[in-house]
Amino acid sequence: VFDLATAAVEGALTAGARYADARAMQSRYESMTAKNGDVEELVQRESVGVGVRALIGSSWGFAAVPDPSPLAARQAGRRAAAIARASATVPGPAVDLADVSIGQGSWSSECLEDPLSVPLSEKADLLAGLTGTISAAGIPLAEASYQIWDTRKWLVSSEGHRIDQHIRECGAGMSATAIGERETQRRSYPAARGQYGTRGWEQVRELNLPAHATRIAEEAIALLSAPECPAGETDLILGSEQMALQIHESVGHAVELDRILGWEAAFAGTSWLDLSKLGLLQFGSELMTITADATLPGALGSFGFDDEGTPARSMDIVRDGVWLGVLSGRDSAAVAGVPCGGNMRSDGYARLPMVRMTNIGLLPGPHSLDEMIAATDDGVYMETNRSWSIDDRRLNFQFGCEIGWEIKDGKRGRMLRNPTYTGISPRFWGSLDMLGGRSEWTFWGTPNCGKGQPGQIGHTGHPAVPARFRGVRIGVRG
């Protein structure tokens, strides 16, 4: 398969590119959903193709073809060059590529049990059984699903990259939706969209989904008659799954260099962060240390090399509350004059690599969830994401969670429905005063991060722990 990628690169170089790279990819995807005791859908998908990127002067072109012959791959390279020439008719500033070590090698994610080899009947029995259990507990809408990705890719560049990788990812989740007179209430496990990692089926077995089916059903029903989350300012404790999305939306996207440079201005947006403040800006409290670490075993944002061939690495994004790092690729890093982060990834052979999160996560702190609750006189604990919205500069956010509990005098009290909170990112992170410890550190995976045009779905990881924030506005509603 390296030969196809090589042919595409040669096609681009022959047509005048000063740099070219090509990814040949074979992807298999399988998902199953079940509802109310029956398997509802099974999807199996296979994609094979080559995507080639050409740089002419300071302008890029990209072309992708499915299942090509060597000749078609070479033509795709020439087409990418032709597109780069068209780009040059609306030219921008000079583009260079940051220096990186030229990777040559192989990498595979750890996989103890090949998820595609687990019998379909076993997987169907698991999902049907889970939703049957939830339904039997009185829930009108019980849903469960798993997803599996098996991706092999071969990267060749005109600078000498020659890398192959085999990445297997999977995960699963389930939910119970109770339907009331005027609204619905939902509880999920282990997370709103399931839990995913660069692991085999052992990931799903370890979730022990059956042990939680009845509990989430009971909680969803209880939420229908629970009191509404009060409105006001209070101390807020967030569970680690909600923290993962908080990190993703308000830190991960904000530190993407393409956003900071204005390359995503029309769609995904920009960032409130100003590069001139890198290394100086107080992003949050001193408890806040966030890394971008693509080397974490099993986390969903892990790989051996990014899709430009830069080796995986760990880097500080925020250390002791101070903003230190951005996510970048070779071109954006060169423009900004920062070291290349190795954060370029593409959603399949037909998509251009772009700046994406790897595993953007909090390092654990000195406390525990129990200690946070015990130390809170008046507050609310919220768990499991239900909705998320954040402005185009990644500054103002509003999140809803599935469930909340009142905290009074150091004890967890009444269940609360429709808990929401809102804030401004640096103020919110500045109010962080308690952080869960290593035993509560979970590598959450987000398999649905949208970005780019044409749209790309990214798989990102978010190590997180429970955390407490002071004086947060809660209970926002229509």
Partner: protein, 461 residues
């Protein structure tokens, strides 16, 4: 290969080849599982997208794809699989793996069977020139947009797409269709404001980068130096981008036969849930449509009147939800929509007599004129309470006059309540088409003047 040379699978593939692939796969399925039901979609696409930021082209991509999707049902056990490999060995593997998967699944008691033979109303809207668009032609539209921005920073994209498809099933249904689309979607930026323009059509020739760039630049200049506004309830004039966003939520969560069956929808058929000025329908067969003329089940698409004079009159169905509801499919199975169920992809909102957004604002007391929504997310599907933010220009209007631009605001608002009886004060008469990123269709809507919108906070730091 040169930039000007038309290259593309869709432009260069005829319906005969696609139908032959579909028949080949059906034949293999019949051999592998005699008596089984099966259907096949064969879809070939060319997509080109030229993206710009900081007034230059920074990303520029082209993609070809040919995809075969097979569904096999063996004694009520069914499975689907798809591939983009069409050599004989790959198609044989596709059939074997799909049949094997179906046999290992439990019986689906609600499986509705394959679509019966029925001709489609159209073969889709196809423009050969759009299908043959070169990278240079796309760049030329971008260049016009940037030039019309008149020195402001410009960002956005110009996309063209062409799609040919064939469908066949064991019940004897045979269909083919083709469609093209072109979209320009861009902003112009001052130091502290943005303005947006979005235009979509079947034909690239209908798209003017100069017109769109000028509209975006004018809006951006008019929005310069915005100031804070106290959140609260305000009248609003919502431009078509906002209205499109609202109707997407109502479509996916409300006018969806599956959501209704599950009790998650706000829909009450026959009830006056909307203002009498609201006339809403879905039609993927009209001249504006950029969709294929049949759905994921192989059912021809047809127009569905969703709201007539404010009364909720229908929801859309695929074969599964139609069977459960005791009705017939409306042709709204969305290929690959998974658990979402059927939803409208080509919503139209009837124009009123209100003129442009500016003219609607001219009749507003004290309220906000909003260009665009951003990051809207559902809080509760039953009530369609949604939170999101304004973007790309917001202005305070008093006594019909624009007083000042204001900074972006967050809102939390029930979309169905916002369009409820007595809630609509004016319906614009200028229709804009917008591409729908979720369902792949096109929405065509005017601006609206609404009595109340609940803004919950400022978006600034």
């Amino acid at each position: 290969v040169t930039a000007a040379e038309p290259v593309g699978l869709a432009a260069g593939t005829d319906d005969t080849r696609l139908t032959a692939i579909a028949d080949q796969v059906l034949g293999l399925a019949a051999a592998a599982a005699p008596g089984a039901e099966a259907d096949v979609h064969v879809i070939v696409r060319d997509d080109g997208l030229t993206r710009f930021a900081l007034s230059f082209v920074h990303q520029n991509v082209a993609e070809e794809d040919l995809r075969v999707r097979l569904r096999v049902a063996v004694d009520g056990r069914w499975a689907t699989a798809d591939t983009n490999r069409v050599d004989p060995a790959a198609l044989a593997r596709l059939v074997d793996s799909t049949v094997d998967a179906a046999r290992h699944r439990p019986v689906d008691p609600s499986f509705p069977g394959m679509a019966p033979p029925e001709p489609a109303a159209t073969t889709g809207n196809w423009d050969a020139a759009t299908a043959a668009t070169s990278p240079d032609q796309r760049a030329a539209v971008v260049r016009d947009f940037v030039a019309a921005a008149g020195g402001l920073q410009a960002a956005g994209y110009l996309a063209t797409s062409s799609e040919r498809a064939a469908y066949a099933n064991t019940a004897g249904q045979r269909l083919h269709g083709s469609c093209t689309s072109a979209t320009v979607d861009g902003i112009a930026r001052t130091a502290n404001s943005d303005g947006v323009a979005r235009r979509s059509s079947v034909r690239l020739a209908d798209i003017s980068g100069t017109e769109a760039g000028a509209v975006a630049a004018t809006a951006a200049r008019n929005a310069t130096a915005p100031s804070e506004l106290e959140p609260g309830d305000y009248e609003v004039v919502l431009e078509p981008s906002c209205v499109t966003d609202m109707l997407k939520f109502l479509g996916i969560y409300g006018f969806n036969g599956q959501s209704v069956a599950e009790g998650r929808s706000f829909v009450a058929l026959g009830a006056a849930q909307f203002d009498p000025t609201i006339e809403l329908w879905d039609d993927a067969t009209d001249a504006l449509s950029t969709s294929l003329p049949y759905d994921g089940d192989g059912t021809p698409r047809r127009r569905v009147d969703l709201v007539v004079k404010g009364v909720t009159s229908a929801v859309v169905h695929d074969r599964r939800t139609a069977a459960a509801a005791g009705t017939t499919s409306t042709g709204h199975a969305v290929l690959g929509s998974g658990a979402w169920g059927p939803f409208p992809t080509d919503i139209r909102l009837a124009p009123g007599a209100g003129g442009t957004a500016a003219e609607l604002a001219g009749r507003m007391g004290r309220g906000l004129w909003v260009s665009d929504f951003w990051y809207t997310r559902i809080l509760d599907p039953r009530t369609t309470v949604v939170t999101g933010l304004t973007r790309n220009g917001v202005w305070l209007v008093e006594d019909g006059k624009v007083v000042r631009p204001v900074r972006n605001l967050r809102f939390t608002q029930s979309f169905v309540d916002a369009l409820g009886p007595e809630a609509v004060r004016g319906v614009g008469s200028v229709i804009r088409s917008h591409a729908d990123r979720w369902g792949g269709g096109t929405f065509a809507v005017p601006s609206l003047h609404l009595a109340r919108w609940h803004f919950t906070g400022g978006a600034g730091g």
